[in-house]
Every structure is written in C-alpha cells, then in structure tokens.
Symmetry: C2
Subunit: 220 residues, 2 copies
Amino acid sequence: MAGHLVVLSGGLDSTVCMALAAEETGTPPLALTFDYGQRHRTELDRAAGVAGHYGAEHLVVRLDTSAWGGSALTDGSIDVPDAGSSDGIPVTYVPARNSIFLAVALGVAEARGLDAVWIGVNAIDYSGYPDCRPEFIEAFRGVAATGQKRGVEGDPIALRTPLIECTKSQIVRLGIEHGAPLHLTWSCYRGGEYPCGTCDACVLRARGFDGAGIADPALT
Amino acid sequence: MAGHLVVLSGGLDSTVCMALAAEETGTPPLALTFDYGQRHRTELDRAAGVAGHYGAEHLVVRLDTSAWGGSALTDGSIDVPDAGSSDGIPVTYVPARNSIFLAVALGVAEARGLDAVWIGVNAIDYSGYPDCRPEFIEAFRGVAATGQKRGVEGDPIALRTPLIECTKSQIVRLGIEHGAPLHLTWSCYRGGEYPCGTCDACVLRARGFDGAGIADPALT
C-alpha cells in the first residue's frame, strides 16, 4: 500500500484523522499543514507536535491568504465573534480555504506517489462553512478524477473524510479509542496564550468533550 | 457589473484572456500571477508588463511547489524535453497546478467581491495536461458552487474559459483583433534569455503564429 497524506491543522478533528490514517496504513502518513496567515498561529506548533507524535514527515506550506483578506481568521481588523452571535456563514469563513488546501494536498500527494488525502472536515458540529460539506468533497473528487495525471491514467487519489457525519462527541470518542494525542491539539480561533472558551471553535470543542463525558486533556 | 479576475501567466493564452476580459467589462481586471518556483521566471516579469499595459492591479501569489517537486518545470534535476519526444502527459506537467491556481483565484475573487475568474486553458493545441480540459473546468465549477459562501448564498463565481476550444492560430488572431500586447508575452518552458524554439510551448506558439500568417512580435 502506498502512503497517505493527512491535512493536519493541529486541531481536534485533523488529529483524530491522523490517528485513523496511521492505524489503517500502519505507517506514518505525510502530515501537511498550511501557514496561511491565521491569527491562531499556535496551531502550527500543535500540528508539529502531533506529526512528531506519529514520527511523521511534516510539510508546512506557506500561502499568505491575508494578502487578499476577507476573513476574521486572517485579517486583524475583523474581530473573531463569540459563538452564536450571528446566523449564516460566519466572518471566520476563509474564502476557498479547503479548496486551496485540497488542491495543494492533491498536488503534493501526486508528486510523492501517495494514494489518499485525508481531511477532517465535519458537517454536523461545525461553524457552517460550505467547504466542510459532503457536496463540496464530492465536487473535489471530480477535480481529482479529471484534473490530475493520476486520475486520468488510473485510479484518482482518494479523498478520505471519516469524520464528515460524526458529532463532535463521536469524534472525541474516536480519538480516545484510537489513541490520538488530544492533549496536543488546539482549536481556539483567537490568538491568545490559552483558549478563549467563547469562540465558535472553543464552544464546539467543549460541547464535544462534555457529550463524551471526558475532560479536555488540553485544558488540564 | 462587479469586477473580474484573470489568471495571468504572462504567456500568449492568458494575455489574450486579459484582452477579452478587459474589453467585456470595460475596466481593468485584477491580474493574478503565481510565483510557484517555475524555472521560466521570465514570465513573471512579462505578466507584470501585461498587467501594466492594462493599468490593472497585479497580485503575485507565492507558493513554492518545488518544495514537493514532481515536475520538470519546478525541479532543476528534471530536464525540459523537446517537443514531440514523448507520448502521453509530459514531464512538464505540474501536479494539480490549475487546481491550485483556480482555488486561490476563487478565494481572491470572493474576498474582493468579483464575479468571474478567467483562465486561458486550451485543450486543442496544448501539452496534454489534464487540467486544461473542459471536464476539469466543469468539475471546478462544482467546487465554486458548493464550497464557497458566494455559491451557497447566491450565484457562484463564474469560471470563464474563452479559449478552451480554440486552435493556437485562432488564439493569435483573437489577440490581434482585440489588441492584446502579444509582444510582451513569453511562452518558453526553459529558463533562458531567449525562447529556445524547441520545447513544447515554443513549438505550439510558433505553429500558432505560422497558421495565422503573422510574425511573432515577441521574436522581432
């Protein structure tokens, strides 16, 4: 079996993906992290820690999306709101973020001869981003099938999204069952030294651990 | 009418796209160029020249794909072959290049409130890259429709490919008719001071000008 690639942010979901991919393939997946100008830069160190935990090669790709702006996560002049403070797609949405991540991941995977790209998107307990939903992933499978040498000459690189229909509590439980190093992960959108506890990412994470009946090991 | 974005490499096809987009919208489109570690870096200066010709804002996004390799265009250890020296998809194919370009272009267009992304892909007189074909573009339209706030809340950003079924001679003629500054363009894949005349890009370009009965103004 050729190797796999995991898009690793250093958050809860991508770290559980890393655990599942490592277990399935029996070898450390290639961990791919994006330095996209995010204000929560702590997650870059967390991603390195998770990759190190698995003895995985860690490729950090820099693409400064703050150069064109449009998101509270990359534009210091837009505040990160507290959870529940607005309807619809929130200002923390980063235009085309997962399209960019998946396109680069498919390129890296093809160049390295890897068979699958794993991404921890989730469309249940999530912030409402359109690029976390099954229909988006399905569209991207079409891109892998039609736009790559791999897809044209043989089987396309597979897009694996094992968490897409899980609740956050189920993701926490999966992580525990599969030995994911959840104590190393970071979810908070804000750039502070400690998780703020009130942004969407913090609130979803807390609900996940509460629902699973487990204390968050990153807070202890 | 809101503005448009043109993916501008500084080559013949993207420059003709720039001419068509500028004429249709009546305002300078945003020109987006990628510095992806290509060996033919001359095209970055040419792109700047074309953008300047139209009085367009020129955004250069750096993403060093040579970090993962896999292509003669970004890996100095793989030679650029002469035209016709191999069958199938050539070694100058850059894994997922147009997926990456389009994903970033859709992100920039959304952040800037633009309505369309133009790209000069061509599936007739081309190097056989899968990410230049209509089925790939169609798949990416699905990405724009499902993965972006713009596509979910209203009309997706349009992907415009006016040259996709043109011959290279037709593209040359279109460029002349619409006043494209063809003398500023660069096509050669090799990194020399002058076009090599023998790589796939040079040969396709020469055939295009020959077929149109026009001398290549970049060579005079």
